[in-house]
Amino acid sequence: MANRRILGLSFVFSVAALSLTTVSAQQVDFDRDIRPILSNNCFACHGPDENTREAELRLDDKDSVFADRDAPLIQPGKAASSELFRRISSTDENEMMPPADFRKKLTGQQIELIEKWIDQGAEWKQHWAWTAPNRPQVPKAGRNGVLNPIDNFIIRQLSDEGLTMSQPADRVTLIRRLSFDLLGLPPNAEEVAAFVNDKDPKAYQNLVKRIIAKPQYGERLAMYWLDIVRYADSNGYHADKTRQIAPYRDYVINAFNTNKPYDLFVKEQLGGDLMENATIEQQVASGFNMLLQTTDEGGAQAKEYLAKYSADRVRNTASIFLGVTLGCAECHDHKYDPFTTQDFYNFASFFADINEVGVGNAPAFPVIDGMLADQIADKTSAIADKQASLNAVSREPSDARKAWEAALAKQADTSVVAGKWQYLGPLVAASFDEAHDKSFLNEAESIDLSVGVGDKKWAEKDFPDGAVHALDQTANAAHYLQRTLTVKAASKVELKFGSDDGIRVWVNQKEVLTNKVTRGPAPDQEKITVDLKEGENSLLLKISQGGGGAGFYYAHNNSGLPADIAAILGKTERTEAERNKLSDYYRDNSDELKTQRDEIAAMQKQLEQLNNSAPKTLMTRVREPRMIRVLPRGNWMDDSGAEASPTVPGFMKPLAIEGRRANRLDLANWMVDPGNPLTSRVVVNRLWKLFFGHGLAEPLDDLGAQGTRPSHPDLLDWLAVELIESGWDIKHIVGLIVNSNTYRQSSTLTVELAGLDPYNFKYARQSQYRLEAEMIRDTALAISGLLSDKLGGSSVKPYQPAGYWKHMNFPKRTWQMSGGDDIYRRGLYTHWQRMFLHPSLLAFDAPSREECTVSRPRSNTPQQALVLLNDPTYVEAARAFAERILMHGGPDDSSKLNWAYQIALSRNVNPNEANVLLDVLAKHLNTYKQNPQAADEYLSVGRRVTPENIDKSELAAWTSISRIILNLHETITRN
C-alpha cells in the first residue's frame, strides 16, 4: 500500500517534472500524457459507465471521440478549432469542462498538454495494458555498466536525462541485500566472509545461485504470495473461527522452491481440482478458491453471503492474477476501464461450480501423499488380507461353530428381538420447554408410521444399540424414535438410555420416563425396568433439544440378538444369504474368533490414526453450477437481472471454448495464454517490486486507465515476454533482476538524486527500506540463534499478550502458545487470525488478509518501537543473543562487540558506536551487580532457560546491549 502513496506522489512529480521541461519542447504521447488526464477528470461522465454517461460522449473510446459531429470534438492538427479544446479552455460557466460545479478542474498545464497533443496530430493509442506485450528491441547503451538487458533499458532512460548509475554496492551490502530479498533473513558471518573473500570473477553469480537454491527462498516468496491471495488461518467474519489451510501455504512454498512454472501455478490454484486425474497436490492448490472470508453467524442469510463470496472471488481473482479492478463493476459499469457489470457477473460464473455453503464452515479434507500414502495403502491391504482369512474361517462348519449356533438358538428363545428404529424429526418448537412438553403427535395411541408431522416423515434409521448417536442440531426441537421389542413370553426387561438434551419414553403408549434436562449424551444416564407383554411391544422415545449438539443412546440388558439373526436361528431351512448372514454374525460375535477380530480392530485403529495424522486443508469441490445473475446495483435480493455465463470481459480476447460450459481451468488457461496482455506483466511487475521496493508500473493492482504509466514500459514488456518465453520460469526472472547492474547499485542517496528522483523511479541507485513484518521477527531470531529452520506444517502460536483475543466470541478463545521450538518459527508460520492478527506483525504493517494485498504500507510508528523494545519475543531473543556473545565473542568487551556486530550487521563496530555501547554496558553491569533480583527478572522473560554457568549480571548487561542492537534501524533495514 505504500506504493499507492508513492503512486500519488509520482503523479505529482511527473507533472512537476513536465513543468520544468516546458510542454512545448516535447512530443506528447496520448497514452502517457493525455489519457490519465481524461481518465481522472472526464471519464466519470464521459467514460465506460453507460448509466452516468453525458451527451453520449465517451472519451475512453476512439470511435466516439472522432465520430462525425457538427463541431468536431477534435480536429487533428488544429486545437483551436477542436470543440474539446474550446470547452476545456473556456471560462464561460455554461460552456467550461469539467463543469464549474464539478469537484475536479484541469490545470493550465494539463490544458496546454491537450492543446499540444491535438496540434501534433491527435494520435490515439490504445491503453498500453490492453494489448499483449511484444518483445521490444533492447536499446543500445554502450558496455559501461551493462550486465544484462535490464541494464540497457535503465541506462538508456537515465542517459536521456543526463544521469548515470551509481557505483555497485560493496560486497557486504550485496550479500545482505540478496539475503533479505531472496530469503528474508540476514546472511550468517561465514557466508559473508566466504563471499567477501571469493576471488572467482563469477563470485556474485555463484552467490545468487547458492541463495536461490535454499529452502528459505520459497518461504520468502510465499510470504508475498500469501498476502496477494489473502491466505489466513481463520474465516474472517463474525466468530472468525480457525480454518485448516496450512497445506495450501506449504504448496506455495514448495512451488517456489521447485520453481513450478507460473502458468501451471495459476492453473493448479484456480482449477487444480478440475485437472485430469488431479493429484493430491493439485487438489491442495485448489484450496486457493476457498481462501476468501466466510461467515457462520447465526441469522446470516445464505443467499446474501453467497453473493458476497461470489463478488469477493471476482474482485480478488482479478486483482491477484490480472492486476485490474474488475471489482468496481459490481454495481455499475467500471468508471475508467471498459469492464461492464455483465462482465463482472460473467466472471463470477466461472466460480459458480464451487460447492460451498453461504453460512457455515467449509469442510477440510485430509492431505494424504508421500510416505503417509504408502503406509495407509500397506495397512489397508494388510487389513483386507486378514479380513479375508477371517471371512473364510467363519464359513467353515467347524465343531466350535456348531456349538455356538446351538447355544445361540437357545438364547434366541428368551431374547428381546428389537425392530429397526423409525425416526421423525427435527420438529421445531419456540423454546426448549415447548420442545420437551408439547405432543407433536399423540403418544398415547399407537404410531402410524405412514403419518408424519408437518413436512417431516417417519424414516427407518440404523442406530446400533449400545452406542451414542448424533441427531440433527436444530435448536429447540424434538426428535421421535420408535421401534418394536418382541419377546416370546411376557418378561421384565431393563432399558438403558442417554440423551442430549431431555428425554421422554413410552412403552405400549404409556409414558414410563421423562427428564427435562440439558446435558450431553452418555451411556446409561437413565435406567428403567419395564414389563413387556408376549409378542410385539411398542417403544417410543422423544429426545428434546435446547441448543448445541443433539443425540441419544439406547441399550437393553439381555444379549439382544438382532431380529434378523433371531429369525434365521428359528428356521430349519436357510437360504444361502441367510447362511452367510449367520456366518458373518459368528465372525463378528463369537468368542472363538475374538483374537482375530481384535487383531483387525487394532490394525484398523492404526489405520485410523494414520488417516488422522494427515493434515487437513480446504479444497475446492464441485457441484452443478449455480445460476448467476447480474445483481442490479449489487442488490442480492433482486433476481430480475440478466443471466450470466462464464465468459471473460467482452473487450478482451475471448475464450476458445465451444460446445460446453467454460470452467475455472479454461479461465486459468486464458490467463496464461501468451496473448493475455495482463498476466505476465503483473507477475514481472510484482517480482520487480521485491527487489526495488516498488513496481515498474504503479499501483501493482491497477494496470487500468487510472494506474500510472510504467516508468519503463519497454522493460516491463521485455521482462513479460522473457517470462512467457522462458516457460514462465520465475527463478529465471528473479535471477535476471538480481544479476543486473541496476540491482547491484549502491543505495546511497545523493543530494542530486534526492532532488531529481526521491522515490527512485529512474533507478540511478538502489533503495533502502524497512524489512517486512515477518522478516523483522525472523532476523531477530536468526541473530539470537533461536530461529527454528523447520519448513511447513501447521501454523504456530508464539508469545502474544494475554487477553488480546478477549473480544472474539462464539466460542471464546484464548491463545494457546505452541510448544517446543515452534515458538521460534519464522513469522510466516504465525497463526494468521484475521480479526486479531498477532500485534507485533500488525505493528509492522502485516495485513489482516481480508482482501488481496499487493503492497504493504511501510510505516514508521511508535508502536513499532514498543514492539522491538518490549515484546517478549525480542527481549528473549536479546538474552539468547547475549549468551552467544558471551560464549563466542572473545576475551574482551571490544571483541565481543565486534563479534555481535558481525553477527547482526555483518560489519565491525566503529569506535563511536563502541563508546556508546560500552557506557551502557558498564552502567548496566553495575546496576545488575547491585540488584541481582532485577537481573533474575530481566533474564526470566520468555520460555528459554538461562544456563546456570553464566554470570547473571554480565548476561543481563549484555542483554541490554543486544536489545540495543536488535532495535537499530540498520538491523531492520534492507540496504
Partner: protein, 472 residues
C-alpha cells in the same frame, strides 16, 4: 553533511510542489516513510490550517452500543406497537424485507417493554431504563430515523465505521486523524476502549479501527483494561525507566551515527518515533491512573478507576479528550438481545446510563462540551417483531443520539412508522451521519479523499448529505 542533504531533500519536496501544503503533507505522510520533519513528529493533518469550513467540534467521542440496541426499548416510543402486542405483524411491512434469525418464523408484534417519559424543556422522550440520561435530555439530539444496510453484526459495524461493508477501507477515526492530526505528541490520535456486559456479547473485530488503505499510523490504538493498557507499553521486568532510557538513548545515538553514513531520511523518522514511544511509556500509565481525579468526579461517573467498565471508559474518554486525542471510540458489547429484551435492555442500560450522563455533565463543567462531538449509536436496531421474548436485528429504522459541538441541543429528528419498522420522516443514512460529523469538524465530506487503486475514495463513498436539522 547528512543534515544538509536531508534538508535539501525536504526543500526539493516543497519546491516541486505545485500544490504547496498538499505536497508537503503528502511527502511528510509518506514520510512516515520519508522526509518527515524531525522537529515536528506530530502529524499535522492533511487539512492542516486549510479546513473547508469553520469547525464547530474539535474532537469526537463515539460511543458504540455494539450488538444492536433496541430503539423500541430506549428512544422510540410506539404506542401502536404495544396495542398490537402478540398480533401478527402486518405483512405489508415485512414482505420481501431482509430478515436475520426470524427467517421462516411467524412474525408477531412485540410492544415496547418499558414506559417512556418526556424530559426537560425539550420534551425529549426517553424510556424508563434511562434513570440518569433524562437529566441531560435538553443537551442531546435524538435521531429516530437512522437506516443502515447490513443486517449482521460484523458487516454492520464495518459499514458504520467505514461507510462500506467491504473490508480494507479506513475507519472514521482513521479518516479524521488523517485529515486533522491530533493535538498530542504523547498519545495516539485515535483511541479505542472496550467494555462488555448486560446481555450477549458479540465479537468485535480489530478491523473496526483499522486504517485500511490509509497509512498505519492512523490506525486506532486499542487500550486494554487487562495487562498493558497499550500493547507492549510497559518495560520488560527487571528494568526500570532509567535503564530503559539508557537503551532508547543508545539506539537513538547509534541511529544518528548511521544516518550520517547512509543518508536515509527514514532514520530521522525512526528517531522521532522512538522518542514518542518512550514518552508514551510514561504518558499512558499517567492517563490510566485516575488518582488525580476528585471524589466528586469519581462519584459522578460512578467508577472506582480504570477497571474496564463503560463508566470508567467514559472517564478515560474525557481524560483523552483533555490530552488532545482526536477520535475516541468506546465499544460496549452487551446489546444483542435476541431473548429477554426487557430485562437485558434494562441490565445493559444500567451499565451505560450513569457513565454517558456523567460524560456530558463533566464536559460541560469543563467547557469542553461545545467543541466535543458525542455520537451514541449502534450498528443497527431491533425488530418490532418478537423473537420469543427478544428481538431480532433490524436495519430499516432505528435511533441514535448526538450531542455537543455544533449539535442542536434538546431536539428529536426524524421518525419511524407507527410500528417502529421503517424510518419515514427525515431519513438519515449512515453516510449522512458521516457527512454531518465531518461537516461539524470543518470538513467537506466530498473533498477529503485518498487515492487507492486508481480511485479517489472518501468516507461517504459517493453518498452523504448533511442533516441540517441536527445543526445548532
Amino acid at each position: 553533511m547528512a543534515n544538509n542533504s536531508l534538508s535539501v531533500n525536504r526543500r526539493s519536496f516543497l519546491g516541486h510542489g505545485a500544490q504547496g501544503v498538499g505536497v508537503y503533507a503528502l511527502a511528510s505522510l509518506l514520510g512516515q516513510t520519508q522526509a518527515a520533519d524531525v522537529e515536528v513528529p506530530r502529524w499535522p493533518g492533511v487539512l492542516n490550517g486549510k479546513l473547508h469550513r469553520e469547525a464547530k467540534a474539535k474532537r469526537v467521542i463515539f460511543l458504540t452500543m455494539a450488538g444492536g440496541m433496541s430503539h423500541l426499548e430506549t428512544f422510540d416510543n410506539k404506542p401502536k406497537l404495544r396495542e398490537l402486542d402478540g398480533q401478527p405483524m402486518p405483512e405489508s411491512y415485512t414482505k420481501g424485507q431482509p430478515i436475520a434469525q426470524l427467517q421462516n418464523r411467524e412474525l408477531l408484534c412485540l410492544g415496547g417493554q418499558h414506559e417512556f417519559k418526556k424530559h426537560g424543556e425539550s420534551g425529549n422522550e426517553l424510556s424508563a431504563i434511562w434513570e440518569h440520561l433524562g437529566s441531560v435530555a435538553d443537551d442531546i439530539a435524538i435521531v429516530r430515523s437512522l437506516k443502515t444496510e447490513a443486517i449482521n453484526h460484523d458487516p454492520a459495524h464495518t459499514f458504520m465505521n467505514t461507510g462500506t461493508t467491504i473490508s480494507g477501507r479506513p475507519s472514521m477515526g482513521s479518516w479524521l486523524t488523517y485529515g486533522l492530526g491530533a493535538e498530542t505528541e504523547n498519545l495516539p490520535g485515535f483511541v479505542v476502549l472496550t467494555s462488555s456486559g448486560g446481555g450477549q456479547d458479540q465479537p468485535i473485530d480489530s478491523r473496526q479501527w483499522h486504517s485500511g488503505f490509509l497509512p498505519s499510523r492512523f490506525q486506532g490504538v486499542h487500550f486494554h483494561s487487562q495487562g498493558d493498557p497499550v500493547l507492549y507499553v510497559n518495560n520488560p521486568p527487571g528494568i526500570d525507566r532509567e535503564g530503559q532510557g539508557d537503551i532508547v538513548k543508545a539506539v537513538q545515538q547509534l541511529n544518528q551515527f548511521r544516518g550520517a553514513v547512509v543518508n536515509d531520511p527514514e532514520i530521522a523518522t525512526r528517531i522521532s518515533q522512538y522518542e514518542m514511544a518512550f514518552r508514551m511509556q510514561a504518558s499512558v500509565p499517567g492517563l490510566m491512573d485516575t488518582s488525580d481525579e476528585t471524589q466528586a468526579t469519581m462519584d459522578l461517573y460512578g467508577t472506582k478507576g480504570a477497571d474496564g467498565t463503560f463508566a470508567a471508559n467514559c472517564l478515560l474518554a474525557r481524560r483523552l479528550a483533555q490530552r488532545g486525542c482526536r477520535f475516541i471510540q468506546l465499544y460496549h458489547r452487551g446489546w444483542d438481545h435476541h431473548g429477554n429484551v426487557k430485562g437485558a435492555s434494562q441490565n445493559t442500560a444500567k451499565l451505560i446510563d450513569q457513565g454517558i450522563t456523567a460524560l456530558i455533565k463533566d464536559l460541560k463543567q469543563r467547557d469542553m462540551f461545545d467543541d466535543t462531538l458525542i455520537v451514541f449509536a449502534s450498528e443497527f436496531g431491533r425488530t418490532p417483531m418478537a423473537q420469543g421474548n427478544g428481538r431480532d436485528h433490524h436495519i430499516k429504522g432505528y435511533s441514535i443520539f448526538l450531542a455537543g459541538g455544533g449539535i442542536k441541543p434538546g431536539t428529536t429528528v426524524g421518525a419511524t412508522d407507527d410500528l417502529g419498522y421503517n424510518a419515514v420522516d427525515d431519513v438519515v443514512t449512515v453516510h449522512d451521519l458521516h457527512a454531518t460529523m465531518l461537516h461539524l469538524l470543518g470538513i467537506d465530506h466530498e473533498r477529503m479523499t485518498f487515492q487507492f487503486q486508481g480511485r479517489d475514495f472518501r468516507l461517504t463513498d459517493v453518498h452523504g448529505k448533511i442533516v441540517d436539522k441536527l445543526l445548532a
